[in-house]
Symmetry: C2
Subunit: 393 residues, 2 copies
């Protein structure tokens, strides 16, 4: 096992009716800025629950945070914060709202160019940098879309307007003080968003699990536990969107897919995410769709380097015990693809109308973003990335 | 899944050489009281590592904290704290040292009868009480014996001198600020302590797992993951006490056995612990020994109420898929007993020279301690407890 530090102070309030506890989780004297997205919380009853819980608080609003939240738009929250002496942020929504709120929490008290909040606190821990922030506004979260894990970690991804770039940053000051997870808020999610969330969680796990063995036995078991839970519970949610327990298991799995535990003491890959981001940037596919496209091909191309862990995955997650190593790896990859497809998410470029000449454009983007050394061994260069993209047809 | 709150702010520094980080984890201006036990840390090099790391800090000492730490002895730390303006405690040792230090952390700033720290903050959350403490000294921990999970939770167990009583208390202010877990510090543990630690962890898990199903799929998978890791790694440690990775996996498993996660959103039993405590109090057996005696008998007596979960346990942890339900349950219990015995820990009263007339004395103690309603259904009354004890012969 590798050395590690693990520290996750976010308080989770999980279950039916927990939104009412906002009344006591946020001190009465706080001026709250409620941040949210396109308004789905106004049709599914979540907004009303939040406002009712906060009826004795001073509440201001900042809405319209879109998927892939934009730097320029988020900056518009800062004058509202200053004008109204806001001293607490409450993100209500999915990962984009939480990520955007993390940026606001860091940028509002920041002196200097706010883009430095993103640029100087990179998620990539291999980049040695002096963090740019030493304070952040306190914030909490009411999660309505399980997927990114942002509700219980200190990272975020934001973009600039009219740019194909997505930048991820993280800082220990950016853990939510609390996150409220009521599975009932996810009953009305469109099937596509549920599916994307399951795939996002699945691939968060594989990024930290399908690398090479370092004898992190507990991390492996927990990673497998999340994958098995997703595979077992996702079909129940598609059969009955109001299945509380299945929704609860998906929601809690998404949190644990990226709250730091399964990645502590083991190597990380993250190439599927990096290659996927370029696809979103160029063609606007959903994040979950890009992961579903890239992962099977990446596992195929890296089958030698990931051999032991893919075999373990095949056995423990899919029950594959027969055949040669290569046959078992093929089978494990095929089961993965079939699972994604069973959620209604296509796993080939061609299904999205993307043709083979897209590959050179994607490789060009990787070059521009200096993503020329990826994967747990740092051996996914542009040539390997090209192979992976070509394997997506 | 049941509603729950989960919040565990303890920072973990895990791995080789992490003790050196004490130098920066504790602010330079702190006056530290180093608390420890019988002195094994002076022979295994841990004391020296700690003192070296803290060479630029003001360090005072309080030693002699014994297994089942005693209220009266712990109180002796308080004048030392006052006299030397101590403002940080550092527990170096196993669960008893950490538990004792938690008591000191709460009792030192406490106004009033210090026994109220224990009595008015009961671990049993079914007891509605107004907590007695509103502040506690900050403290950290260097763990040298994986077992109790105290390094990453806010509970503790202490006793009074000349009393057969063990009292557990907990409070959200009593999480360690940090805990350092270096598996190399456990290389020199006597096999008996290693075995007791494995059994303590195992039974922490079964108390939260072998109850009744509430569809907490992730909690179940993680619980099973800990059990599987213990079963896989413990023999390696007995074959080679210096096996770093196996020691690391046992150490991290012990932490996760009782850091709140696997118990969040699911019922808890804890009867094995309660019945075991009475045996320790009366006959002085190690905590781990008492658990190894009680658990197989308890599972047998409660086989009907725990049927579904014991069957799941048999299948997923021991691979038992054949036979009638009752045969599979028998098999699962027998495998559990055999595992404990394989660690060198006896699982029958008779092996410890305890005769059948002990039962009435133990039942009398349960009565005195008002432990007349135990288990996840509250259906283990004194009659059932007697059946369980009788089944331990």
């Amino acid at each position: 096992m590798l050395n590690f530090t693990f520290n996750n102070p976010t308080k989770i309030l999980f279950g039916k009716g927990q939104i009412a506890n906002l009344a006591t989780e946020i001190p009465k004297n706080k001026h709250i800025l409620l941040t949210y997205g396109g308004g789905s919380i106004k049709t599914n009853g979540v907004y009303e629950q939040v406002i009712t819980a906060l009826k004795n608080h001073a509440v201001f609003e900042f809405n319209g945070i879109a998927p892939n939240p934009k730097f320029e738009q988020l900056l518009e929250a800062i004058p509202i914060i200053k004008k109204n002496n806001i001293d607490f942020l409450l993100a209500v929504g999915g990962g984009s709202v939480v990520d955007g709120t993390k940026f606001i929490a860091a940028a509002a008290p920041f002196k200097g160019d706010p883009w430095d909040v993103v640029k100087k606190n990179p998620s990539d821990t291999s980049i040695r940098n002096i963090p740019s922030i030493d304070t952040a506004m306190p914030f909490g979260c009411v999660l309505t879309l399980p997927a990114t894990g942002s509700e219980m970690n200190c990272g975020a991804v934001i973009s600039k307007v009219n740019s194909p770039d997505k930048f991820s940053f993280r800082h220990g000051l950016l853990y939510p003080q609390f996150s409220i997870l009521d599975p009932a808020t996810t009953f009305t999610l469109p099937p596509k968003q549920t599916a994307n969330g399951v795939i996002d969680t699945f691939v968060h796990v594989t990024e930290q699990y399908l690398t090479y063995p370092v004898n992190g036995k507990l991390q492996d078991r927990f990673a497998e536990g999340i994958l098995l839970t997703l595979i077992e519970e996702a079909p129940k949610v598609f059969a009955d969107p109001n299945n509380y327990d299945a929704r609860a298991n998906l929601m809690w799995s998404a949190t644990w897919g990226l709250n730091g535990f399964i990645g502590a003491g083991v190597p990380g890959d993250w190439a599927t995410h990096m290659l996927g981001h370029e696809i979103t940037a160029r063609f606007g596919l959903d994040h979950g769709e890009t992961l579903a496209i890239v992962l099977p091909s990446l596992l195929n191309v890296k089958r030698k380097q990931k051999r032991e862990k893919i075999l373990q995955y095949g056995q423990r997650v899919w029950g594959i015990t027969q055949g040669s190593d290569d046959a078992r790896i093929d089978n494990a990859i095929e089961r993965t693809r079939t699972f994604f497809e069973s959620l209604g998410v296509k796993t080939k470029f061609s299904a999205y109308g993307i043709s083979i000449d897209a590959v050179s454009a994607l490789i060009e983007q990787l070059k521009q973003h200096n993503l020329v050394v990826l994967g747990e061994h740092g051996d996914i260069d542009l040539k390997q990335s090209e192979l992976i993209y070509r394997g997506c047809f």
